[in-house]
Symmetry: D3
Subunit: 254 residues, 6 copies
């Protein structure tokens, strides 16, 4: 039994509210237990300089926390005048993950800006951001489909993320909250597609190590959790779910 009475293979309750903010093309509030993240997807009709004149699009992500999303207030990065290494790592991860399931060749010279703003944090903010941002991006593309700006849903598969870890006593667990995360010997974030393939595995033993056997057990837990998350995502977007995968990336077969 875990601190919050969950079993080792239990996720925390997940709730996704769509159209949370009115201006963005796609907007959700995702709640994973006590962690709450606003994920907004904005479409801009141009690409960054290094992508110009290639006839394809780009997806980029930014991540931030409200100063008091955490138990102790954090100084704003705008006040410090620079973005921390942790923030940069997370926003690079979110962007990479989303690009893995979007056919950038099908969206024209457009940039999708994904903003993940954590309003309340209790562990797993980066994985909640990916799971929520996926829905925001689908909603934003749906706007383009409605306006017939693009002809097909360019999203090739579902995408979600969760964490697994190893506690001090050697137990492998799924979906760590803040207290578990701060005590765990190993922390691993996994991003996966609906087809069950890995997009990203980031496993870290901060001042500790882990064996291949432990790795396999963690991957198994992640796989279980991920199926439940994909189901929640499908329910959230309803009939739009059928359009995921109508585009297949060049040279790729499912």
């Amino acid at each position: 039994m875990r601190i919050d009475q969950r079993k080792v293979n239990n996720l925390r309750p997940i709730k996704i509210t769509t159209n949370y903010v009115s201006h963005p093309e796609g907007s959700v509030l995702i709640e994973v237990g006590e962690t709450k993240v606003i994920c907004n997807a904005s479409i801009e009709d141009r690409v960054p300089p290094f992508m110009r004149n290639q006839g394809k699009g780009w997806i980029t992500a930014e991540y931030a926390m409200l100063p008091r999303a955490t138990a102790q207030r954090n100084i704003r990065e705008s006040s410090k005048g620079k973005v921390s290494g942790r923030t940069m790592e997370i926003q690079r991860l979110i962007g990479r993950a989303l690009r893995s399931v979007v056919d950038l060749d099908k969206i024209g010279e457009r940039t999708v800006w994904v903003d993940c703003d954590v309003i309340q944090a209790d562990g797993g903010t980066r994985t909640a951001s990916i799971t929520g941002a996926f829905i925001a991006v689908v909603l934003a593309f749906d706007k383009l489909l409605e306006k017939r700006t693009i002809g097909k849903m360019p999203v090739t598969d579902f995408l979600a993320a969760t964490s697994v870890g190893v506690l001090a006593d050697g137990t492998e667990i799924l979906d760590l909250n803040y207290e578990e995360d701060s005590k765990a010997h190993v922390d691993m974030n996994i991003v996966m597609t609906g087809a069950g393939e890995f997009v990203e595995i980031q496993g870290t033993g901060e001042e500790a190590t882990f064996t291949n056997n432990q790795l396999q057990k963690m991957l198994q837990l992640a796989d279980e959790g991920m199926q439940q998350i994909f189901n929640i995502q499908k329910e959230t977007i309803g009939s739009l779910a059928d359009r995921i995968g109508e585009t297949v990336k060049q040279g790729e077969t499912k």
Copy 2:
């Protein structure tokens, strides 16, 4: 009749949700029409260097918008590496306003950090921030009262803010939304205490001017609106309202 069917002296609907985020000592979500701001008040047990060893406290405010709080996405100030002039003006204003109704001598060497984060903007974000932040601060002091860290509520009076303006056709109006604000010839923000005194008047004719007569009409509209806002604030905090004013600042009489 105005764009959104209001009369010239009508406020937009105001809704204040308390304890919106769990970590801060005081937290509210304030909605003024389509404008939505999370106001968090955090208590820190020390003061900035310039205030040390004076036995009194300090209140400081920070203000930000989510990038997609607006119709067009804005670049994050953390990415730009600096805070804009507009942001600085607003956060200085919020801090000054709150300090005018708090007896800093009664809170010990503590800093109240007020974070106003706009998640959706439709005009009047700075005045909504002040109205909401006032409640967040009262809730935070209530926590200190409960823990008997302080003995009396240090808030000397209610505090709220609204905007008034003059349209191109010369009509004075109350509580401008974004569309009205962007077309108005004169825009005035007013911060007032429950006793009906001014804390701040900031009237600006961007590429326009206004007469003393127009000023008086605007002040009258503001006064009407303010009474309604004070009533909403009172309902929001219930019996806590009775403790506002139990402290009177040195040399001040009501």
Copy 3:
């Protein structure tokens, strides 16, 4: 009687030296009592990106203090690597004020850069900057008129600024020096046109409040002072004064 023997409705002596620095199109040294500000207006033959291809011009202001303009030396903002909130507020105010009396449609795609550099400070540096910058801008436009770059003086009216305030004993006073300003309960900056209309009212009760009655008395004092300042401005520019107002902004009548 005030600290410096003035009556409550007395301005400090004002002296405006034109062509103080040789390079700028318009240049004045304005002295208001012990406050001394160099105001330079420079004409640049292009506008900022957000103004391009609209066939109109722009006026922007920058404000700074020499490190030892004050009793205590201040760290240079260039050394700190960022401009303070106070500086930004002031330069935004100066720019807005000047734009209110210039018909930007008549100056072509040009930017007027106004630099207000305080070389000695004794209170009222922002209002002295506005009063002086107005003259510098008129002189700069006169250069354009001489070169026949523009056909009419695009300045629609005189513009000046002063401060009023309320002392701890409740007395309303005009044109506060540094010592008065640091002790006053209420401080209000007023920018007015030659026609007696307001461009900007910024009244602040730092840790204090003020009534509508006090507001009216302050506005009355400001009005008295402003008439004297306009006279000094008229003497300073001599026959050029007759050209002020030869342009009337679209949709405006005096």
Copy 4:
């Protein structure tokens, strides 16, 4: 056969020159094929503020490239005034990895600064940095042992890193050079201890995905490569190798 004639499970030649720079406590030049990194370890007799008064030490890493370490010249991060997200990710990784095999409780309140400066880059600069930095750190601690500042070698095990990946044709390969890296569908960096446990696994499918089966093949290749690297490290430090592991971290058993 690969571009450079290696088999899929071949490492590039590795050469480690010790005492490359004279000032640092530990210094090596590591060459992995055409990739060359100077790794310097410096001992500072204090810890960062967040670590003070805990009686233990800290290891932190910084990573940079000479502007012309690459085929195209890069702008210096000092000129840009900020460190890129990629640099931050890498230096956080190097620091975490080294801390996993050092018993920070045994080095007193000291900081080990590890500087990895890439003078020539051909893929795998972060993994070469870790492999080289490990030796630099061991050499630096040896200096402290010689001076009897510490009594035991605080390094609990060997540590090295390498990369594996999946080419477009589905082949799994070991130790990618730049050309392979830029074309690979999957890129995975692995940090491992001498005991064969993982410290870090970072696998990324940029715009691609990978299966668990592919993951297992990559881990197998990494394991083969790592044994060869540990042998090179052992030869490099000679008899010092016997002292690795004389300290065991609290609560850890090998």
Copy 5:
């Protein structure tokens, strides 16, 4: 005959106005031809961290230009958020030069901040800054003498600076104005003591070179000019001139 009718060995007219700004301990406006610099010396009762607890003082200089000191407006360094290489070179030069004639052991743990702000530039701003700053520093120390904070004038000798150069036709000239400076093949700044010794020689052939013979001729011209500048400095400070040199640095003889 030169552009402005001077002979090759003629200085431009020099005028030094003392007590130009009221707040600083020492303040002068120095005019060298059309070049005008405000030099303020401020005394702070502490030294920078690297100088603490050595019982001696420090002199540091900052240099800036008003944006419109030049024919084209320059962007403020505070707006750019960083100080240019040219500015840094100049302020390091001014600080070094002043420290060479002040016995820092005699001023206690104090810092003299020297601010040189160019309000109008026509070549030679750095040399005018040094010549003027010397007087400002002497006046500031005189304040300390009057208050008996220090017992002896700590200035060991006079100090002044000027420029020499070689024109395209090979002519050596003294005290270059802006137009001459921008065309000269060689530009040399010389800082000298009243005893005729060099403190600094900085000779530069931008895209050109010079011979030892030309160097000697330039040094001769500088020497002639310097004697005149020392005379002007002496007249400026009157009887205070007698106190220069009453302190001799340790190990130094005149």
Copy 6:
């Protein structure tokens, strides 16, 4: 006899390794005693904005030290977010010096980026940088000659630099190492062409002064040393030496 047993007119041993790094068009490692600097020259096919459409090229230099090039570790300038005054002075010096012997009219609209990265410092890093960078630039131009991008070697003469100084006992010495440099009363850097003309003289008496007689003795020592350095440069580049000077700058005669 000096600390390291050299006579007053002895240089330290100089070693120049060409093609040290593989990517740059020109690359050398220069060792002057214990000082080691990597000098890389990169050719970019465009010029900075202020040089465009003039049909000529530009040379610019950047200089940095590895954090542990010195006895005490220095904080990276990229971490500090700004480049120090010392660094800026040095890189401006290197760029100016190189431009003095290159006919920029003959290289087309190209920029030569010279990167001098000190990997080990023992005094004289800026002079070693110039001496080494000269060779790197010649090698880079040789690449352009081989590719027939340019027709003639645009380098008009050899270029080298060294330091001279005056010790506390009044002895003039050549080529100061770190220990001598930190104790010297006078430090002078001299940049000279193969024809024996000066490009730059920078002599500084930090808290000290020097006479014209001492200046002459230092110049004599520098001249002796420079002849030896030119010989080493000639040996390093072999037959390429014959092409130096095949271009003569407009209006220049040797």
